[in-house]
C-alpha cells in the first residue's frame, strides 16, 4: 500500500502564482478525479508534482510514502513510481516506442544489470495485446506524426509497461473522439488495480463515465473547493462551472 500526499502546495510560473495551497492524498487502488475549468491550475499541479523545471514550488510538500520527492530530479521521481500521462506528449523523432520503453525499463534496473531482451519483448507484446494495440505500433517513432488518439494510447502503453505506483493523467480525454476515448478508457480500466493510484485531471465529465472515479475534487483558482464521490461529477456537469464560481468559491 502506497500513498501520494500533496500538502498545502503552492506553485508558480515565474512571478505568477498558479496553485495556491492544495492538499490531496491518493492511496494505492484509488482513482481520484480533479475537475475544473481551464486555467485553474490542474495541469500545473500535475507537472509540478512530476518535477517540470518551468514550475517553482514555493511552499508545501509532496510526499511519496512519507518521503518528500521535491528534492528529486524528474527522472528520480519517475523511477520512484510516479508516472505522468501528458496532455501533449512530446515527439521524439527517430526513437521507436520499443527502443524508448526499453531504455526506460533499463533505467529502472540496478547498476550493471542488463535487460533481458526476450523477456522485455514478451512483456511488451502481452501489454499491447491487453490494450489491443497493433504490433507494428511500437516500431514507430514516439508520437511522431501520431493522431491524438495514437498519442494517448502510446501514453497508456508506457504506463502499462512502467507499472507506476501513481499515475497523474493530464487531460487524457482531450482531443479524442468518442471511439478513441473508449479505447483509452478501456486501457486505463485494465490497468486499475490495488497497486495503482490514479489522479485524473479533466475538464469534462464525459471521461468519468468511462473511468469511474472513487473521489472527485473540484478545483478553482489553484485550490480544491469541493470534494465528493462520483456523484459530484454529475452534479457539476448538470450545474456547470458557474455553480462553482457562484456558490463554492468563498468570496
Amino acid at each position: 500500500m502506497s500513498q501520494l500526499e500533496i500538502k498545502d502546495l503552492h506553485v508558480s510560473i515565474g512571478e505568477k502564482q498558479i496553485v495556491k495551497g492544495l492538499s490531496l492524498t491518493v492511496r494505492s487502488g484509488e482513482v481520484h478525479a480533479i475537475m475544473g475549468p481551464n486555467g485553474t491550475g490542474k495541469s500545473t499541479l500535475a507537472k509540478a508534482v512530476a518535477g517540470h523545471p518551468s514550475f517553482t514550488i514555493t511552499s508545501g510538500d509532496v510526499l511519496l510514502d512519507g518521503k518528500s520527492i521535491l528534492v528529486m530530479q524528474p527522472d528520480e521521481r519517475a523511477r520512484a513510481g510516479l508516472f505522468l500521462a501528458f496532455q501533449y506528449p512530446s515527439e521524439i523523432p527517430g526513437v521507436s516506442i520499443a527502443n524508448f520503453l526499453r531504455a526506460a525499463v533499463q533505467a529502472r534496473l540496478g547498476e550493471g544489470e542488463e535487460l533481458d531482451a526476450t523477456a522485455y519483448y514478451k512483456r511488451l507484446y502481452s501489454k499491447m495485446d491487453m490494450l489491443q494495440i497493433d504490433r507494428k505500433f511500437t516500431s514507430r517513432a514516439i508520437n511522431d506524426g501520431f493522431s491524438g488518439g495514437e498519442k494517448k494510447r502510446c501514453e497508456i502503453l508506457q504506463m502499462a509497461m512502467l507499472e507506476p505506483k501513481f499515475a497523474l493523467m493530464d487531460e487524457t480525454d482531450s482531443g479524442l473522439d468518442i471511439d478513441a476515448l473508449r479505447i483509452v478508457a478501456d486501457g486505463v480500466n485494465a490497468l486499475r488495480s490495488t497497486n495503482l493510484g490514479v489522479l485524473m485531471i479533466t475538464h469534462y465529465q464525459r471521461l468519468l463515465s468511462y473511468i469511474v472515479p472513487d473521489h472527485v475534487h473540484v478545483m478553482w483558482d489553484g485550490r480544491i473547493v469541493k470534494s465528493g464521490d462520483k456523484s459530484l461529477a454529475l452534479e457539476l456537469e448538470a450545474k456547470g462551472y458557474d455553480w462553482v464560481k457562484n456558490e463554492l468559491v468563498p468570496a
Binding site: 530530479q73 519517475a78 512530446s90 521524439i92 523523432p93 527517430g94 527502443n99 531504455a103 517513432a141
Partner: protein, 484 residues
C-alpha cells in the same frame, strides 16, 4: 625496446575493450600511448630535407621523390584558406610537427610477429577479434607505417590487392602510378599538397574485374607520438563490375599539444563498379583533422561515402564524387558531432560530368555545448548535361542554447534538363522533450543521447551492424559527459 607508459590513468580495464565491437573509435579505449624508440625519425619541421629523408627511408623510385618535392613547393606557395575557412588553421605550427616516425619493420602478416608494444595497442583496441569476426582483411598503421597487414586467403586468391601505400608503390608501380594523384591533384588544396609531399602509409587496394569482396576490408590508423603528423595516402581501385566495402577507424591519445592528421583518399570506380567507404573517426580533441577525399565514378559505377566525425579540435572534410560516366551514382552520408571546443566543418561535393548521373547527400550534424558544426556542400551540374539529379538534405541538431551551426550550400545547376532538390533543417532538443523522457525515468544525459541517436537513426541504420552499435555507444559517451 620501450617502456610502457600511460598518458592518463583513466583508461578502462582491458576487459572493456573485449566488448568493443569495432576498433578505433572509442576514445576512452584509445587514450593511452607507448614510449617508442623510433628507428626512423624525420625530426621536427618541414623542409626539402625532410621530404628527401622520408623518400630515402622508403627507398622510393626517383619519380616519387620528384612528385614529393613538387608537392612541397605547392604547399609552401599556397596560402591558408582562411578567406573561407576558420582562422583556427593559423594555430597549426608546421615547424613543431614530426613528419615521419617509424620503427623500420615491414608490416607483419601474423599477430605473433607484431612487436609486443604495438600488438598491445591494437589488441587493446580490439583489432584481432574483429578481423576474425567479420573482416576480409586488416591493415593497421602505427604512426607513419603499417605495423600489421593481413588479407584473408580467399580474398587474395581472387586477385584482390590490399597493402599499404608504400608497398603498393613498390610492388604495383604501373597500377599505382596510373591512378595516383589523378583524382585529387597535388595542388587541389594546401593540405592535399602537404600530404603529397610527406605521405606515408594508408592503403592501396585493387579489386579485379567482376570480383565482389564479400566482407569489408578495414584499415586502422593510430597516432602514438606527440606532435606527430599522420599523412596517410589511400588509393582504391575497383575494376569493372567489382565491389568493395572499406572501413577505417582512427584514434589518438590525448596529448597536451596539438596533432595533425592530413590524409588524402582517392577512389576509382571503373565501369559498373561499387565502392563503399566508411569512416568512423574519434580523434582526441586536439587533433587538426584536415582530409581530402574524392572518388571518380565511371559509367554506371557507384561511390558511397559514409563519414562519421566525432572528436578532433577542427575537422575539415568534404568527401566528393566526380560523376564521370553516364548513369554514375554518388552518395555522401555524413554525421558530425561537435562537442565543447570542437568545430566540425564537413560536407560533400558532387561534380556531375555526364548525362543521367545522380547524386545524393544527406548530412546531419549535432552541436553540443559550445560545439560548432558547419556544412559546406558543392553540387555542380553543367548546362550541356541532361537527366542529372541531385538530392541534398542537411539537418542540424542543436543541443544547447549556445551551440552553433552554419550551412553553406553551393548548388550550381544549369540547363533545364536536370533536377535538384535541397532541404535543410535546424532543430533543437527542447526542454519539453527532455522532460518527457526524464518523466519516463531516463536521466538528462540518457535523454539527450537518445534524442541524438534518434536524430541520426535513419543514417546509422545504413551502417554495418558493428559500426552502428559502436556509433551509438560513442554518442552515449559524448552526451553523458556533456550534461553539467
Amino acid at each position: 625496446m620501450s617502456d610502457v607508459t600511460e598518458t592518463e590513468s583513466l583508461e578502462p580495464p582491458i576487459a572493456d575493450t573485449a566488448d568493443n565491437p569495432v576498433s578505433g573509435i572509442d576514445q576512452t579505449a584509445g587514450n593511452f600511448s607507448y614510449k617508442m624508440d623510433y628507428e626512423f625519425d624525420a625530426g621536427t619541421g618541414l623542409s626539402e630535407k625532410t621530404v628527401r629523408y622520408i623518400s630515402s627511408v622508403k627507398k622510393e623510385a626517383p619519380w616519387i621523390l620528384e612528385f614529393r618535392l613538387n608537392a612541397l613547393k605547392q604547399f609552401l606557395a599556397k596560402p591558408m584558406p582562411t578567406h573561407w575557412a576558420t582562422k583556427d588553421l593559423e594555430n597549426i605550427n608546421f615547424d613543431k610537427i614530426r613528419y615521419y616516425l617509424s620503427s623500420g619493420q615491414k608490416p607483419k602478416r601474423t599477430w605473433d610477429e607484431v612487436p609486443d608494444d604495438i600488438k598491445k595497442t591494437f589488441e587493446r583496441l580490439g583489432i584481432p577479434e574483429h578481423e576474425r569476426k567479420f573482416l576480409a582483411g586488416v591493415e593497421a598503421q602505427f604512426d607513419s607505417e603499417a605495423a600489421y597487414s593481413n588479407i584473408k586467403d580467399i580474398v587474395s586468391k581472387q586477385g584482390v590487392i590490399f597493402v599499404n601505400s608504400t608497398e603498393g608503390l613498390r610492388e604495383h608501380p604501373e597500377l599505382f602510378r596510373k591512378f595516383f594523384g589523378k583524382v585529387i591533384p597535388t595542388g587541389d588544396n594546401k593540405f592535399s599538397a602537404l600530404n603529397s609531399a610527406v605521405f606515408s602509409g594508408g592503403s592501396f587496394i585493387y579489386v579485379p574485374k567482376g570480383v565482389k569482396v564479400a566482407q569489408p576490408l578495414q584499415a586502422y590508423f593510430r597516432i602514438n607520438a606527440e606532435n606527430f603528423g599522420q599523412f596517410e595516402r589511400t588509393l582504391i581501385i575497383a575494376d569493372e563490375g567489382a565491389e568493395v566495402v572499406y572501413m577505417e577507424g582512427c584514434t589518438a591519445p590525448k596529448f597536451s599539444t596539438s596533432t595533425l592528421h592530413s590524409a588524402v583518399v582517392e577512389l576509382v570506380a571503373l565501369k559498373g563498379a561499387k565502392i563503399q567507404y566508411i569512416t568512423v573517426q574519434n580523434w582526441a580533441n586536439n587533433v587538426f583533422n584536415l582530409v581530402t577525399k574524392r572518388g571518380v565514378a565511371h559509367e554506371e559505377a557507384e561511390i558511397k561515402w559514409i563519414d562519421c566525425n566525432i572528436g578532433s579540435r577542427l575537422t575539415m572534410k568534404y568527401p566528393g564524387v566526380v560523376l564521370k560516366g553516364r548513369k554514375a551514382r554518388g552518395e555522401v552520408i555524413s554525421i558530425a558531432l561537435a562537442n565543447d571546443g570542437q568545430h566540425q566543418d564537413t560536407g560533400a561535393k558532387m561534380i556531375h560530368a555526364a548525362d543521367e548521373t545522380t547524386s545524393n547527400i544527406v548530412a546531419k550534424s549535432i552541436s553540443v555545448g559550445q560545439g560548432r558544426s558547419t556544412y559546406r556542400g558543392v553540387v555542380h551540374i553543367p548546362k550541356h548535361l541532361k537527366g542529372c539529379k541531385n538530392n541534398t538534405e542537411c539537418d542540424a541538431l542543436l543541443i544547447s542554447p549556445n551551440s552553433r551551426t552554419d550551412t553553406y550550400p553551393a548548388i550550381t545547376v544549369r540547363g533545364d534538363r536536370n533536377s535538384v532538390q535541397h532541404e535543410a533543417s535546424v532543430s533543437k532538443v527542447s526542454e519539453e522533450q527532455i522532460f518527457y523522457m526524464q518523466q519516463r525515468g531516463l536521466t538528462e544525459g540518457q535523454a539527450m543521447s537518445l534524442s541524438v541517436n534518434g536524430f541520426i537513426n535513419d543514417l546509422a541504420r545504413q551502417f554495418p551492424m558493428e559500426y552502428s552499435v559502436e556509433l551509438k555507444r560513442l554518442i552515449d559517451l559524448e552526451m553523458e559527459g556533456s550534461v553539467g
